[in-house]
Amino acid sequence: MTLSKITIALLAASALTLSLSARDQIKMVGSSTVYPFASSVSEEFSATTKNPTPVVESTGTGGGMKLFCASSDMSSPDITNASRRMKAEELKLCETNGVTDITEAIIGFDGIAFAQSKANTPFNVTKKQLFLAVAAEVPSADGKTLVANPYKKWSDIDASLPNREITIYGPPKSSGTRDAFEDMILKAQTEKMDVYTKVYEADKVKNKGYKEYGTIRTDGVYVEAGENDNLIVAKLDKNRAAFGVFGYSFLEENADKVQGSNVDGIAPTPDNISSGKYPVSRSLFFYVKNAHAAEIKSLNDYVTLFMSEKMIGKKGILGEIGLIPLPEKERTAIRESVFKKEKVTAEMLSHK
């Protein structure tokens, strides 16, 4: 049984290299939306500096935060990418695990498109109408109580909308795009609506979810179509009546098949998203563990490259693959704070 001898030798050898190896390769985890941008920077970084290509894992924003905050030693990732801001609880988790010196970087925007097949006439929708189409519970006709969403056709919501079945393909609960969609379309509106706050105030513990109501209907109108946005594009191509919710880069890349709807009269174009006019857009982030920079010499260089004009600037490389750049003033400001390694504080995260 020479094979088992080889096995033992192999395991012994690997245990040995483990104890000897100091890592010089950057490791990243986090959002699948930021993943293409981060890996583009990784590739550019290794091709131009001769450092080993940083490993970019796509774990989703929440999963990335967990891994990032799990420990401060070198086996943990150096950077986590996020399609939303770090939550206060996540910072707390980091701190209890000894990860205290984190810097936040904003790299740009991502618009969330509400798209349909190109064969249809362009669609105009307001945030309010979108909310009425997707929420699980909506205000009743007299506006006094909450009822299970009765709308089956767009024309039921508003007579000005076409007489078309509501079918929406969107991301599942694990996705950051879904979180952002719930935040911007549902929660942002329901927190200001008396019908919902009344329910919350009636029983603050039991009806906690009604403070900022963000539950999407599950009666088959909103169809969870998986994390793969290409799949949603393919479905819209087949099912002309349906709408899809996905990131801007997929809209841009499939402009022959799908078109974005105007939300509140604003089209999802790079300019509108960058200026903040388009109402369904979010910032993209990454977080760096500063303590790791001492051991991994290339970490600072990677961050510098990522924040450079060449990457996230107006004509930057990431713009070509769908990142919407920040306005110039904000770019300069965020760059400065990243280079100064400003520490993330709980106070900072409470601002939206």
């Binding site: 096995t7 483990l18 390769q25 490791k27 970019v56 793969n228 841009e252």
Partner: protein
Amino acid sequence: MDKNNIFYDPSLKRRHLKSKLFKYFTLFSLVVSLVFLAIFLLDMVLKGSSAVQQTYIQVEVSYNQESIDSYRDAVAKKYLNLLSRAALREIPNQIQKNPSLMGTKQVLWMLADDQVDMYMKEYYYKIDEKDMKTLEELVKNGMVDKKFNTIFFTHGDSKSPEYSGILSAFIGTILTLAVTMLVAFPIGVATAVYLEEFSKQNWWSEFLEININNLAAIPSILFGLLGLAIYINVLGLPRSSALVGGLTLALMTLPIIVVSSRAALRSVPASIRQAGYALGLTKVQVVKDHVIPLAFPGIMTGNIIGLAHAMGETAPLIIVGMIAFIPDSPTSVMEAATVMPAQLFTWAGMPERAYIERTAAGILVLLSLLISLNSLAVYLRKKFEVKW
């Protein structure tokens, strides 16, 4: 048949009809599965066949200090958007490797941008008007050509679709499976030998048998969770490495190997063992020199099928971090690596259209590897099979 015939059976007609129907039903099932397979293969071949070629553009490249400082200065500005950025990026490295290039100008076939490639392959493309004019002129002058896509086989993953390939994933697969087999083969076969040859048949061994069979059928993602818990969190082995991936897949393959090796050992007739004992051999001698060699073709078949199973697996590898952007080929089992199905999974989720053909081509490569492995299993069985 005549009703007056003494062999006349009134139910005969119905029975014949029934048997005919049953035959057609089974045939129909076969046809259905073949049609599905054919549609899948045809779809992949149609989508993937265009990846055999890649578009190149003939341009003048200047090797000088300016191109080292900014690789975008190495070619005339009007060609910049038509060429692959990933290929241009290599120009400073080329000078570094071959200093004699410095100060020269060369007319070269440079890799074209993925959008140009999409245009040449008559897919949907996005090229703005100005660049389109330049491109049309280049095409007219015969400066644009499709060549065999060597990059696909000699490069790892890239965020520029035209520069991406499956090499790093292929090497990652080999390293991962090597670890899997080095661990699962000896342990699996030894377990099977013990259970089949040495252990007593009692409630305990039956309990074990049920559990091993059960283990062979549980969803593979659970093995990923187990791998994460044991190898990464407890033993501290590096995340995303071929070692962790291989060990995780070994957990998954073990029950398959145990079950198939036991079946192979069981098929060796008792007379062989009895003859051995009659000649005064010890139990170990009988097992080692007679039973195992005779059962070996069967054991090998089981192992190869287990290996093919492991090769196509992605779910447990997501958990241990092997689904990631890893363009460099790993050189040891401790380095970050990815495997072929994981690479296909990543490509399928990318927005760029050019990844569609690469995904399909990658699937064809993976399928042909699986087919060769499975045919090897069939060949080994046919060649060394002993009929009793």
